[in-house]
Amino acid sequence: MSEDSQVQSLLPLTHLTYHVLLVLAGTKLHGYGIIKEVYERTGGAMDLETGTLYAAIKRLRDDGLIEVAQAPADAESADSRRRYYQLTDFGGDVLAAESERLAALVGLAREKNLVRGAVPARGES
């Protein structure tokens, strides 16, 4: 299987997976950091329980989307229990592919004038 078809086979991502990958994009976070970030970015709509998160982490590691990272130099604590996670290259590809898919979907919605506050599509005014 080519890498592209591997990426495609994982789509669509669940809501939860997408958010976890999204907060890890370009940064390293520990478990609680992921929970906090997701909570803040979704305006409190998504408050992951510990169990939920780690079941997801296991699945994402098994699928090769994320990996354990070196603790960043500016880590706020030296707590050895805190392990940091980052996206793998493959994980980055999957996140990008899913984002494109979602963007395309949003584009479709926009054509139907469903996205409030958006610029009207060409040809309509």
Binding site: G31, Y32, I35, E49, T50, G51, I57, D62, D63
Partner: protein, 890 residues
């Protein structure tokens, strides 16, 4: 706010839900994350610890399922859909389907859960008492080694031991490592700041506490050479001294004598062991039973209560063998009346304590098992009917490839869920039921402090639920899985239907039979209770107040003690509301024994063994105060002494059958008295002393004056023209006025004493009646259900009959007849069962035979009536069948 270390430990333990490999990888991290999340979550407004835990909990379970789910790493778009083949998954699926099914039939589910909850709850509540009273070991060191030793002779089935015999037993025994002897009496407690009160003091050998294995919570216990040191019970220490630790070393007066407090016993261990007749005393204080008392060679006066600890590795049977041989030896040495047919009995302490309670508890456990059986049968019936109405669904599923085993498993899962939910409802009911049971305060049950809804009891509830599941779930499951495909799909399952109805009917017949047994038990106890209330115990049972008064020890001699009691009598008699009052050394139903040998001239002449009777020392007005009737002669007069005696009818019948006892002479060997003869001046009716239902020992009464010593305790019976309780205050004030140090205790109205005497019967009656009521209700509901179903199945038949001109009365008879046959079969079966089973309650019955024909007849008629009533409602529905409607369905 950070999570408690306990909470974190608990969370870590929960992680065991995950596979070991997952735990090794993530457990530490997850605990850390959990802690951080907790801290953060609690800082939000409106956050509750419970809500947080609940969410984390549920998420953890779901995550564990997911991780354990053996899912392929990620579902591929072109891969076949996930195959659920793990047993866990199958089961989970079954549970989901079953829950959905139960939710869709809320009435069925609710009725089944309530029915099971009643059965399991009642069983759990009664088992908690059985467990606490009969099964929980006593809270002493190696309680299985502790035994009590009682004597027996020709007159008494159970006797304490005389000091002379005890010395020999102690020296000669090789099977019993250590003995302790003890004896309790009530005395006045004074000399501290508190008001004088009566307390129960136990005289015990110095090894009493080490033998039981009780360490004092405060201070120490007394030594061999400390006759004036006392140890307080935890209860007295709390109640009277407010838990003050400086009580150690305090000087108090016990029975007028100075003593020093040296120790306080711990809470939570009941330091009392069994006294006579399975009774456990509640002692407030312990003091030394001096060695010199034990050295008394007397073998006649048996007063020592003996407890022993077996040599390690020795059995009770070996100890019993040794004691039996020792009893023979003692009888040979003694050669007296107290050792005729003399025996010694070794009893494990727990057995001794629960002897009286055991039969009743086992009967209640049996009764409550019947209720559970009936509940199970009812639910089985519900499931059968439900299986019937779902036969179409089952057939479709079977036709679509659902295996029989799969269908059966589905039903078993459904039953198990019902069982678990019923069990949970039962535990809730039991928690409440135990409170009610304890509130009924069955005075004849020892060790109620050990009754609780603890782990073994919960285990029992769980086991009971599972047994119930097997009872009600399996047969319907087997039947339903044998689906007749064609029949069910074409809605013509007639042969199958017959089989189902046969089972239903058998269940109903059993239910009626079990209900009948319980109802007969209730009826017999009800008659016994009525009988007990009817019995004239030899005295009046209302408007009498009884109290115990102890002289403070201030009197120097017998004359001064007499002055105290005479003053008291005069002052109390003058109180408004007091109609008569009398003194006695014992009060009927008030507990305690007091007796001695007696003889007539004829008995002496024939040189026979002297009978052992009860002896009472009473004041002249005692009989009048008690309402005890004079049958011949006269009562005592003031200042009369022991040259006169009054006997009761029982003694008169034994001593001088058919003769007038007045003017006859009687001898007694009462304590402190030589061999004088007294003249019988009066004959009174027999007073029942131990219980309302049993005759007591024959009794001889003497004037009480010579029995009044410094420190003497006497009972006073006060006949009140007002409510007895209204007199208590003025009696207390009068006593304080005469001597502030004298103690008043055991303030009880005769009605209260009678109530206590009725308590065991009332307790059993209330519970069995309750169980019988539930049983009959369930059986009636079951019968109603079965008849209703049968009517609905026969709608077409009834329609045809009506179309052909059948009288409505015929139809009514048809349906009622069906109910009648079922009920009558159950009644017949139940009567056979009841004849065999009511014997187990014969010890609780008074004035009625276990096979009392009247009770059986009334109960049978009642059940048949209920049965007919239960089928009348469905029968009326049958009458409303519209022939054209019924036929159109064809």
């Amino acid at each position: 706010m950070t999570a408690q270390p306990r909470g974190l430990r608990f969370y870590r333990r929960l992680l065991h839900l995950f596979p070991a490999a997952f735990r090794a990888e993530y457990a530490d991290e997850m605990v850390g994350t959990f802690e951080a999340r907790y801290t953060h979550a609690m800082s939000r407004p409106r956050a509750t610890r419970l809500g947080f835990w609940a969410r984390e909990f549920v998420a953890l379970f779901r995550a564990a399922w997911q991780v354990r789910g053996k899912r392929p790493p990620r579902r591929r778009a072109n891969a076949p859909t996930r195959k659920k083949n793990g047993t866990m998954n199958l089961l989970l699926q079954d549970v989901r389907i079953a829950l959905r099914g139960l939710r869709k039939a809320p009435t069925f589910t609710l009725v089944a859960i309530v029915t099971l909850g009643l059965g399991i709850g009642a069983n759990t509540a009664i088992f908690s008492v059985v467990h606490g009273v009969l099964l929980t070991p006593l809270g002493f060191d190696h309680p299985e080694e502790l035994v009590t030793i009682w004597g027996e002779d020709q007159n008494y089935g159970q006797l304490p031991i005389a000091t002379g015999d005890f010395t020999d037993i102690r020296e000669m025994s090789t099977t019993i490592a250590d003995f302790s002897a003890r004896y309790s009496i009530p005395v006045g407690l004074t000399g501290d700041e508190g008001e004088s009160e009566e307390v129960r003091v136990q005289w015990a050998t110095a090894n009493y506490f080490t033998l039981l294995g009780i360490d004092p919570a405060l201070g120490r216990t007394f030594e061999e050479d400390e006759p004036a040191s006392v140890v307080l019970s935890h209860g007295l220490w709390q109640r009277r001294y407010g838990g003050d630790e400086t009580v150690i070393g305090r000087r108090i007066r016990v029975g007028g004598q100075p003593h020093t407090v040296v120790g306080v016993l711990p809470a939570g261990v009941n330091p009392n062991v069994v006294s006579l007749r399975s009774r456990r005393e509640e002692n407030d204080m312990w003091r030394l039973l001096p060695q010199q008392w034990l050295q008394n060679p007397d073998r006649i006066n048996a007063w020592l209560r003996i407890v022993g600890r077996l040599e390690p590795g020795t059995t009770v049977a070996q100890a019993q063998e040794e004691m039996s041989a020792l009893a023979v030896h003692l009888a040979e040495v003694a050669q007296d009346n107290a050792h005729v047919d003399f025996r010694l009995h070794v009893t494990p302490m727990l057995d001794d304590l629960v002897t009286k309670a055991k039969p009743m508890l086992l009967v209640l456990m049996g009764a409550v098992t019947f209720v559970l059986l009936i509940a199970c049968f009812n639910v089985a019936n519900l499931l059968l009917v439900r299986g019937q109405s779902r036969s179409h669904e089952m057939a479709v599923r079977s036709a679509l490839g659902g295996g029989r085993r799969q269908l059966a498993r589905q039903l078993v899962v459904e039953s198990t869920i019902l069982g678990v939910l019923g069990g949970a409802a039962g535990v809730g009911l039991a928690a409440w039921g135990i409170q009610v049971l304890l509130a009924l305060r069955p005075t004849n049950l020892p060790r109620l402090e050990a009754v609780a809804l603890d782990l073994p009891v919960l285990g029992f509830a769980f086991a009971g639920s599972m047994v119930a599941v097997i009872l009600f779930g399996v047969v319907p499951a087997i039947r339903a899985s044998r689906t007749d495909l064609m029949g069910a799909l074409t809605e013509r399952g007639t042969s199958r239907d017959k089989g189902h109805q046969r089972i239903s009917r058998a269940l109903i017949v059993s239910e009626v039979a079990l209900s009948l047994v319980l109802l007969v038990g209730t009826g017999l106890l009800l008659r016994s209770f009525a009988e007990l209330r009817q019995i004239r115990p030899g005295f009046d049972t209302d408007h009498i107040l009884t109290v115990s008064v102890s002289e403070s020890g201030r009197a120097e001699n017998r004359e001064e003690a007499q002055v105290f009691f005479r003053n008291l009598e005069r002052e109390l008699s003058a109180l408004p509301g007091v109609e008569a009052l009398g003194f006695s050394n014992r009060i009927p139903l008030g507990g305690g024994l007091y007796g001695g040998p007696w003889a007539t001239e004829a008995i002496r002449a024939r040189n026979e063994t002297e009978p052992e009777g009860a002896i009472r020392y009473v004041s002249p007005d005692y009989f009048e105060a008690m309402g005890t009737r004079l049958l011949a002669g006269r009562f005592f007069k003031d200042n009369e002494d022991w040259e006169y005696a009054i006997v009761d009818e029982k003694l008169a019948e034994m001593a001088w059958p058919g003769e007038n006892p007045i003017g006859k002479r009687i001898w007694t060997g009462a304590l402190g008295r030589g061999g004088d003869w007294s003249e019988v001046v009066g004959l009174v009716e027999h007073q029942r002393h131990g219980s309302l239902s049993e005759d007591y020992n024959e009794t001889v009464f003497f004037p009480h004056l010579n029995q009044l010593f410094p420190g003497t305790q006497q009972y006073i019976a006060i006949r009140a023209g007002v409510e007895p309780e209204a007199l208590v205050r003025s009696v207390r004030e009068t006593l304080r006025y005469i001597d502030p140090e004298a103690t008043l205790a055991r303030v009880r109205s005769m009605e209260e004493l009678v109530g206590n005497a009725l308590a065991p019967t009332r307790f059993a009656l209330i519970l069995i009646a309750l169980f019988a009521g539930v049983a009959v209700l369930l059986a009636a509901v079951g019968l109603y259900g079965v008849i209703s179903y049968s009517v609905s199945q026969r709608t077409r038949e009834i329609g045809i009959r009506l179309a052909f001109g059948a009288e409505r009365g015929t139809i009514l008879r048809l349906v009622l007849g069906q109910g009648f046959v079922l009920t009558a079969a159950g009644v017949a079966l139940g009567i056979v069962g009841a004849v065999g089973l009511t014997r187990v309650i014969s010890s609780m019955l008074v004035g009625v035979e276990p096979t009392d024909p009247m009770t059986f007849t009334v109960v049978a008629a009642l059940l048949v009536a209920i049965g007919v009533l239960g089928s009348y409602m469905p029968a009326r529905r049958a009458l409303r069948v519209d022939p054209t409607e019924a036929l159109r369905a064809e």
